[in-house]
Symmetry: C2
Subunit: 374 residues, 2 copies
Amino acid sequence: MPKQNTYKPRRERIYDWMARENIAMVMLEDTEGRRDSNVRWLSGQPGNALLFLSVERKSLLVPWDINLAKIYADADHILAYADFDRMPVKACRKAADFFKLPSDSKIELPPVTSYPRFLKFIEAFGGFDLLCRDEGVLPELEKLRSVKDDAEINLYRRAAAITDDLIDALEKLLRQGKIRTETDAAVFIDTESRKRGCEGTGFETLAAGPSRSFAIHAFPAYSGESFGGKGLSILDFGLACSGYTTDVTLTVARDLSKAQEKLLALVEKAYKLALSGLKPGTSAADVAAAVDKAFAKAGKAMPHALGHGIGLDPHEGPAMRNRDDNHWVLEPGMVIAVEPGLYDPLLGGCRLENDVLITENGVEMLTHSRIIRL
Amino acid sequence: MPKQNTYKPRRERIYDWMARENIAMVMLEDTEGRRDSNVRWLSGQPGNALLFLSVERKSLLVPWDINLAKIYADADHILAYADFDRMPVKACRKAADFFKLPSDSKIELPPVTSYPRFLKFIEAFGGFDLLCRDEGVLPELEKLRSVKDDAEINLYRRAAAITDDLIDALEKLLRQGKIRTETDAAVFIDTESRKRGCEGTGFETLAAGPSRSFAIHAFPAYSGESFGGKGLSILDFGLACSGYTTDVTLTVARDLSKAQEKLLALVEKAYKLALSGLKPGTSAADVAAAVDKAFAKAGKAMPHALGHGIGLDPHEGPAMRNRDDNHWVLEPGMVIAVEPGLYDPLLGGCRLENDVLITENGVEMLTHSRIIRL
């Protein structure tokens, strides 16, 4: 993919927003403890960098590893983070000089900037108007990123096809008795993803056999315990192609009790209900509320949201949670992981999760995870 | 290990600090984007929880997954995060009520609290004295945690023995030609660690063959490229026992050019120099400065710190960097990863990293990573 055609048009949309908002410079930070994949979305640099955008429509990337930047990054200017002693306040001050910002201009800082660090920015930027707010550039980026472009959708079709291949292969190995432990299942995913050309997994693979599937996110992520034995087992994984990750969960069921069958049936019903509700113009909160209501009717409660958008992050817009502050409306081009699940300390847990693309009429199924009965 | 004996005495040391500092309540947060292993160190809960400590010597844990907490956590009171709509400000406000704090008392918030969120705390806590500062409870915890107790040191000896076993096994497989790609090497570590009873790896295993070892941290972490072929290959990994992770790097060398041999010799020399400098009472910055000076004399520069303490986090105190603001002094009981390395876009990179325990007289080598010549 030619760099120029991917990242520059994205930055142009942010420059437009900056001009409208009268903001002279935006700072984005993607470092340990302050991860922000917007840096990669806007420059191609896969992590550990600061990115400064000027309303004069120029970008300055400050990467930790200058050698990696030479391969991956697209930006008008690149300066090593080491030149600023790897200190964000210092780098930001130099960027303001580099772009020759008038000393009363507005600078938008990352909203994760801690209160103590914000005080240091204030000290270094006398005169400037420093913005540090949740409603700044990040929601704008989240909105832009929630609707995928053609190149991103193609990456998703590719990642989904490999994900489906692995699900098929895994089912075969389970039936042949060749996958018996959580480690067998997780290592199979982690290894095959790379062999098949993925960047890797998009997040830590979770494999929880009958003894541990009661947890929403098993801890540790996988262990030597049985997987696929009597009861309910959960495998939750995602494959990343050029950073874009799928997110699927399959449940493996064997010799279930009546109560376990009921749990599973409720999840399958909720899954169908959710899919039938996904179409452009629909409120994401309403879809999630319908599922919560169905569970409540059966005397159950799902301890997490119905789903979430996916992309360079395993969780991004649109939110699919049943909460008053969720104002997302579905649009064509959104890619969403739908994941109803129920968990019980005694019965274990089950979850069914697939990724869908919102189309003009409804959804296109990207992945085909399922309940595997042994 | 009886829970009571592990976590309560640790909390007592923080209560003492709170009494000295006249702080009524401390809030710690370990959630996505705001990871803080102090929650685990103080309560046993392995992540996704808030922990509130009252100067009246009582603790309140607010975990995301209440089922996991029942197994792992030790705290005086446990309330589900869902009860507070998973909102930290709301949970903190309820904790203040729960502990019946007088409305003018001091509350210490996590210093990573963002500026926008800090404003929300202010709004919810009229009258209270809210502290959000880098110099609060976290440096105190970092200091306490940097010196390991006997139980922690025993865990380290166990984790180190397994780490050494894997290094030996890996060397054998490399010599037999059974490990040929980066994926082979990384998957071997990830699988064997779990088979041998570790919680998993303490961080993402990095395997970079000759074509990618120039990067400080290879991206992606491993791929289908050759590992152990002609040139310099790097494998950086850590094994976690009950959360405590080792951190080692071995370099595999084959058919090196003169320039590559020189790079490797410089790193080996720096490694010996570093080890000889480690003993109680020594300034950590001085040890790092000596190594930087040796590299500079050879016209080279190391683009990262000499090392770092290890524990529940793969990077914790003491810092081993050559910087004026590094005031750490070595003490018996500290566990440190020492990792000199050099990287060159054309020659590739090499790094040698082992974990040592600071003793009364010098160091005890915990791990035995090395240069493997094929």
